[in-house]
Amino acid sequence: MSDSPILELKQLTKRFGGLTAVGEVSLKVREGGITGLIGPNGAGKTTIFNLITGVYKVSSGEILFQGKSITNGDSWQIAQAGVTRTFQNIRLFKNLSAFDNVLTACHGAARYGLAEALLRLPRFRREERALREKAIGLLDIMGLADRADVLANNLPYGLQRRLEITRALALDPKLILLDEPAAGMNPDETLHLMKLIGEIRDSFKLSVLVIEHHMDLIMGVCEHIHVLNFGCTLADGTADSVANDPRVVEAYLGAEEE
């Protein structure tokens, strides 16, 4: 694991009218690392995800991905550059099968043009076959192969979350942002997810930034944790140092122990 950051936020600020949702947050996600982003409700975690992925416009500050600025870029371009995400409230293509969800997201791996598609030229057939193999392969790795035909909407909750991660992986991302992947999961499923996140990082050679409320998950998988409170950085460091930081305990973990 190298120490150079794959993603760097520099004094990132987002104001909604008079409200500062994110105030001068600086954060580094190390290449190949799993970084946690935690904080009480309303601390600005999801807002930071929305700023990174271009859903919101940045008020001030800079976002660097692999050393290049992606500040205020278009979402789809940022995604194609290698940053992708999942959503707190799952957003699948509900009326499509699990397979079609993943197949759609594989589109970046094909190069054929519109004319080649309309005329079904050889390149279309060849690349289309490769896309299908890729989608099946991903579903297989993620343990969803036997559910390939099920409409996304009809999948159980836990599998919907997993399908969303699979769809994100279909873009061959270098950095994946997970927004509360364990929300609504029981301890057993959470444990399973922890293992999965580690495995994905290793086998797909990517970096992970994860928002989570489950402390077991955060402490279990994250090498590095960034704590937010009221839109500002409260603490930043290894899991142990953050967990023992009195300010963090007071603002966040303390509330949990009640």
Binding site: G54, L92, F93, A105, L114, L118
Partner: protein
């Protein structure tokens, strides 16, 4: 026999416009109540080409389609950034604007209409173009570009995060649908030999959209079925005079209440399409059974 053939040609002409609208509404999820306007542009441009400039029919068809496509591109630049409902209202305004502009151009007959256009549309043109456009639409929907359009319909934000340029795909769907409406208009003008702005009013735009929804959103075979049924239905009940439109309306209401997804919404009536729908149903049932055993 000639009467039946007439209805078949009307079905064939409308089918091209409906297939286009199916790409926009059924697969990309954008509703339009102004495609009569694009049909009008195609019809009038083609009429100018054939009746005034005496150019070959094939040029008139191409020009009709292209001018409708260009018009839709300009409209798209302004309106496609709008959210769903507002886009729909903007298309409605566009359709009416086209009609009123045509009312005021004496060169093309104004509000009274334009008579004695050459009759150039025949069954061969219609059948040929129908085959071309069914194949083209089918190939589009089953390509990465088509899947990206469906992604835009399903979940715009997630499509963005999957690297889909949402604006570009909406634009492509709009322009494709307008070109096809324009070509349908060109065929219509040179079949009816008479055009008038009210033929392309909001009722016409609504008719096209109803055919797509009635047949089933997100289904090419549904659009074909919808067009066949809804173009021929008013003709079948021609003996009932004024009641036929009531029957038409009633049929649409009954289908939409009984089958909100349309006749064949979300699936295709092909062997592979039926297998796929059956597999989805089976997989769902299997999951339910498993869930049932656990509890």
């Amino acid at each position: 026999m000639e009467y039946i053939q007439g209805i078949a040609i009307l079905i064939g002409i409308n089918l091209i416009a409906v297939l286009g609208l199916s790409i926009l509404t059924g697969f990309t999820g954008l509703f339009s109540f102004g495609h009569g306007g694009f049909m009008a542009i195609g019809a009038y441009i083609a009429a100018v080409f054939t009746a005034r400039l005496h150019l070959p029919f094939v040029l008139a068809i191409v020009a009709g389609g292209l001018s409708a496509g260009i018009a839709s591109w300009l409209i798209g630049l302004i309106t496609l950034k709008l959210k769903g409902d507002y886009f729909c209202i903007a298309t409605m305004g566009f359709g009416e604007a086209v009609r009123i502009i045509l009312n005021n151009i004496p060169y093309v007959g104004g509000a009274r209409g334009w008579e004695s256009l050459p009759k150039l549309t025949n069954a061969w043109w219609v059948i040929g173009l129908d085959i071309v456009f069914v194949v083209v639409t089918w190939n589009l929907i089953n390509s990465r570009q088509g899947r990206n359009m469906v992604a835009v319909r399903e979940e715009e934000l997630a499509a963005q995060m999957a690297g889909v340029d949402v604006f570009r795909h909406k634009m492509a769907a709009l322009v494709a649908s307008a070109i096809m409406a324009g070509i349908a208009g060109a065929l219509m003008a040179n079949y009816m030999q008479f055009i008038r702005p009210t033929m392309f009013n909001m009722a016409k735009s609504t008719d096209l959209t109803i055919m797509v929804i009635f047949g089933g959103l997100g289904s090419i075979s549904g659009s074909i079925l919808g067009t066949i049924l809804l173009v021929s239905l008013p003709e079948l009940f021609r003996n009932f005079a004024q009641w036929r439109l009531v029957i038409y309306g009633l049929a649409v209401v009954v289908i939409m209440v009984g089958r909100p997804q349309g006749l064949v919404g979300g699936m295709e009536l092909t062997p592979a399409g039926i297998r796929k729908a059956a597999a989805a149903r089976r997989a769902r049932q299997q999951f339910r059974d498993e869930a049932g055993q656990k509890t």
